[in-house]
């Protein structure tokens, strides 16, 4: 808590300091507004970058069309003011809401698809909006003068109409907006949404497998980001008093909103501020030195810095600044709790009265011409541990992907807890109680071990604090409590496997699918992982286990299902199955069996 109050104190001190700047400049250099103007630009771009950062930085969805949203804000409030006399303060909210709707509508179809597509759509949207506005002379009968733009009437000092004489009024408004957006960023980062976005940025499929609804989280972030960007647009219009589509919706604006957070530290709360503090003065200096004749010099510097940061310094300035202030802290976690402190993994009693928890019936899926799984049927009773074995390419992981909804089946049914699963997405199935681990582990590499597990606990937790507590317990259960504060990219393979188990358990599953937990793990880590799986089994959780290591799987499972080329060839008690000549034949190889 002391660290938090120290941060808050520092932040308050900075705000007070910034608020005193206009008084100081007035005392020192009189009514020269130049320096105030430069500071306003720094804060303005920091504000816009922080608004972009909500979706671009936190969520990793790079919009390159935010200038379009800025333009919506500028035009909405200005048109309302000029033609209906509505105060730009109200117009600012109206523009923000309109942009939130438009941003959401543009984002919604994209968020069902992946990464680059969103960047393309946003840039195409901003471009069409700009060209369209340039060519439009009147909108619903209101003159907007196309490419020529229009002037806002100068009304003198009218704070109620967002008009001030001199720059000081605008300075304070911008300072207020900047404080608001940074606070919003700080709150989002620490909220449920913040953790979801960070997880989605690192691995969307893994996040969905934990019950996170990726499209919803991205949409919410985009709506917030759009709203605040448009609010910045109104400020811009009021400050300049003159708007044109070519300027307010320019690619330049969109690009600067990207460059600054990336330089400052993408996905961090204060990164946009650092980026603006560095880049805006560079722009001012080059303009002052070389003026209009060499108008692009600052953009050369921006572009070169962008390339340099991405190639050599992907975290940006922020971590380096933090390193100056304090050494990296590890998230404190309560002393390692005993296993008994872990939440009850599962109840052995069946909720559906003796019926199978999972029933797969006639399940089929092919890839092009190749068979993945054909006409597969088996059941898993509540509390039972079923192993799936078979050679590479037998279709084991495909079965998991079909059960979790990562792949759509060509035919057949999956029944879970008495309910037939149809079009449910992986995240919906996770919320129903199906959890999985991945054969090749997929931790969220930018988050700590504890935060990785928190993402899994959050969809069911009442609060972030509760999810943190619960995640700590699951980490302890998985034997990783001492590594809670380590960024996942720093964990060994064995530790990543444990992390993935803790993450899957934290979703409170009724059925857990384990895909080759011992695969790719060195001999030294193996016994610990096996003990961990036996611990999960001892808690009574229903398990479906893919496992290459026959000794491990025969000890763990009540029953084995053997797959060969996508079809079930045997099913039964482990000892009987693994000694069956047909199984030995396909599994170990014909020569061994006959020899």
């Amino acid at each position: 808590m002391t660290r938090l109050s120290a941060s808050v104190g520092l932040a308050l001190l900075s705000i007070v300091g910034a608020a005193l700047v206009p008084v100081a400049t007035r005392a020192l250099i009189g009514d020269d507004d130049y320096w105030l103007q430069v500071l306003i630009w720094v804060m303005f771009f920091a504000y816009l970058s922080a608004a972009w950062n909500l979706i671009g930085g936190f969520g990793g969805q790079y919009s390159i069309g935010h200038a379009g949203l800025l333009g919506i804000g500028a035009y909405t409030s200005s048109l309302l003011y000029v033609h209906a006399g509505v105060s730009p303060w109200l117009g600012m909210l109206a523009g923000g809401c309109l942009a939130a709707v438009v941003g959401g509508a543009i984002g919604y179809p994209c968020f069902r698809l992946r990464g680059a597509f969103f960047s393309l759509v946003t840039i195409a949207f901003a471009e069409m909006l700009r060209v369209g506005t340039e060519l439009t002379d009147s909108l619903f009968g209101l003159p907007i003068n196309g490419v020529r733009g229009f002037l806002l009437p100068v009304a003198g000092s009218r704070p109620a109409d967002f008009q001030f004489v001199g720059k000081r009024g605008y300075y304070y408004v911008m300072l207020g907006l900047l404080v608001i957006i940074l606070t919003v960023g700080w709150l989002v980062k620490r909220s449920r949404l913040g953790y979801y976005l960070a997880a989605i940025r690192d691995d969307e499929d893994a996040a969905a497998a934990l019950g996170v609804h990726p499209a919803r989280a991205k949409l919410l972030a985009m709506v917030l980001s759009s709203f605040f960007t448009a609010v910045g647009g109104t400020f811009y219009a009021q400050l300049i008093g003159f708007i044109t589509p070519t300027r307010t919706m320019s690619l330049d604006f969109s690009v600067q909103m990207v460059v600054m957070p990336v330089l400052g530290g993408i996905g961090t709360v204060l990164g946009p501020l650092w980026g603006a503090l560095v880049l805006v003065p560079i722009g001012e200096v080059t303009r002052a030195l070389w003026g209009g004749s060499l108008q692009g010099v600052h953009l050369i510097i921006y572009g070169a810095l962008l390339m340099l940061v991405i190639l050599k310094w992907p975290q940006g300035i922020d971590p380096w600044l933090r390193g100056l202030v304090a050494r990296r802290r590890e998230t404190p976690v309560a002393a390692q709790p005993a296993l008994a402190d872990a939440p009850v993994v599962a109840a052995r009693a069946s909720p559906d009265g003796g019926e199978a928890l999972l029933r797969v019936d006639g399940l089929s899926r092919s890839f092009g011409g190749a068979v993945g799984v054909r006409d597969l049927a088996f059941e898993v009773a509540p509390g039972e541990v079923v192993g799936i074995i078979g050679a590479n390419g037998a279709g084991k992981t495909t079965v998991f992907n079909l059960i979790t909804g990562a792949l759509a089946a060509d035919g057949g049914d999956v029944w879970f807890a008495g309910r037939r699963l149809g079009r449910e997405t992986p995240d919906a199935r996770s919320r129903l109680g199906i959890a999985r681990t991945f054969q090749i582990v997929r931790p969220f590499i930018g988050l700590t071990a504890l935060e990785n597990v928190m993402v899994a606990a959050l969809p069911r937790a009442a609060s972030v604090a509760e999810a943190r507590r619960e995640a700590g317990r699951w980490l302890a259960f998985a034997g990783l409590a001492h590594r809670a504060g380590v960024i996942a990219s720093g964990l060994s393979t064995g530790e990543r496997k444990r992390l993935e188990l803790a993450r899957a358990l934290a979703t409170r599953p009724r059925l857990l699918l384990l895909d080759e937990v011992t695969g790719g793990v060195d001999q030294r880590s193996l016994p610990g992982l096996v003990r961990l799986m036996q611990g999960i089994r001892a808690e009574g959780l229903t398990l479906l286990v893919i496992e290459h290591n026959l000794r491990v799987v025969t000890a763990l499972a009540d029953r084995l299902v053997v797959l060969h080329l996508g079809e079930k060839i045997r099913e039964g008690p482990p000892q009987a199955v693994v000694t069956d000549p047909a199984v030995v034949d396909v599994y170990v190889g014909a020569t061994v069996a006959r020899g």
Partner: protein, 299 residues
């Protein structure tokens, strides 16, 4: 009706050039899942090369009694080399780092590169518009009462020819198959002994070389200035979203579609309406087929 037919014809002809640029974007995206923001800059570089070849050496963009001295024969290899070098120096290190993820940081890297190159060009060549006025620049002919501009017809021809050559390359050569295989699954392609980074260099270089061809057909009827690439690139982005990200026929179709909407509606009604129609089509496709007209939905 004559007016509309004329507008559609003009739209198809300019749309072909748009399609050529979108095709270049899609080759890079289809192979390495990278949106190349420097595509427009490469086009701009190609146009300046073509301009200087004409000004200083009298090299015609595409008409010569000797077939061997037209500008693409110089610019395409140069641009291929430039593209290969950019890929090798800047993109490869990132792709190696982000092996597991969709390489989104490459998008930002190419954005930085585009900023640098465009503004360096502005520094050296100034923002003045340059033109190449050749004997074909103003030539038109009439067919069935429709006026057809010769340089734009050359653009359509170039797109069709380039698409054909690319199709043959991708379908019937080992290198082309290797590029497609790498695009489908990089890891498996590596296991088959394909050097993925060399393939990426080839794809990037190829897409850059195509900008030499696009430059040659554009120069006789379009202004040359440092920002020209960006203006075409922005249009190409709209086309790629409409036609389908990574789809080569989609790029051609999207280019023609945008050209026709812009040309037809602009001539028939007015330019502002054309933009509104384009926007409406864009939004409709986004909601009905988010992957684009000919795109493959990847989930």
């Amino acid at each position: 009706m004559r007016g509309l037919a004329q507008a559609v014809t003009s739209g198809l002809l300019i749309g072909a050039v748009y399609g050529l640029i979108a095709l270049g974007l899609n080759i890079v995206f289809g192979t390495m899942r990278v949106v190349n923001f420097a595509q427009g800059t490469l086009l701009m570089a190609g146009m300046f090369m073509t301009y200087w070849l004409w000004e200083l050496g009298g090299v015609h963009p595409y008409i010569s009694p000797l077939v061997t001295d037209i500008s693409p024969l110089v610019t395409a290899p140069l641009l291929f080399g430039l593209g290969f070098a950019v890929q090798h120096l800047f993109v490869s290190p990132l792709l190696a780092r982000e092996r597991a993820r969709e390489p989104m940081s490459v998008l930002l890297l190419t954005l930085g590169l585009a900023l640098v190159l465009e503004n360096v060009a502005l520094l050296f060549f100034s923002a003045d518009f340059k033109t190449v006025t050749t004997d074909v620049s103003m030539q038109t002919f009439k067919i069935a009462g429709l006026i057809v501009s010769v340089p734009r017809l050359v653009g359509l021809g170039a797109m069709v020819a380039t698409s054909l050559v690319l199709y043959l390359f991708f379908m019937h050569t080992d290198l082309g198959r290797a590029v497609r295989a790498t695009g489908q699954d990089r890891e498996v392609a590596r296991l088959m002994g394909i050097n993925d980074f060399r393939i990426y260099g080839v794809a990037y270089g190829l897409s850059a070389a195509m900008m030499g061809i696009a430059a040659a057909v554009l120069v006789p009827f379009f202004y040359i200035h440092p920002g020209v690439g960006t203006s075409f690139l922005l249009k190409a982005f709209v086309i790629v979203v409409l036609g389908g990200l990574g789809s080569m026929p989609g790029a051609a179709l999207g280019g023609l579609l945008v050209g026709v909407i812009e040309g037809a509606v602009a001539l028939w009604v007015q330019a502002a309406v054309a933009q509104i129609v384009l926007f409406a089509v864009f939004v409709a496709i986004l909601f009905v087929r988010p992957a684009g007209l000919l795109g493959v939905e990847r989930r």
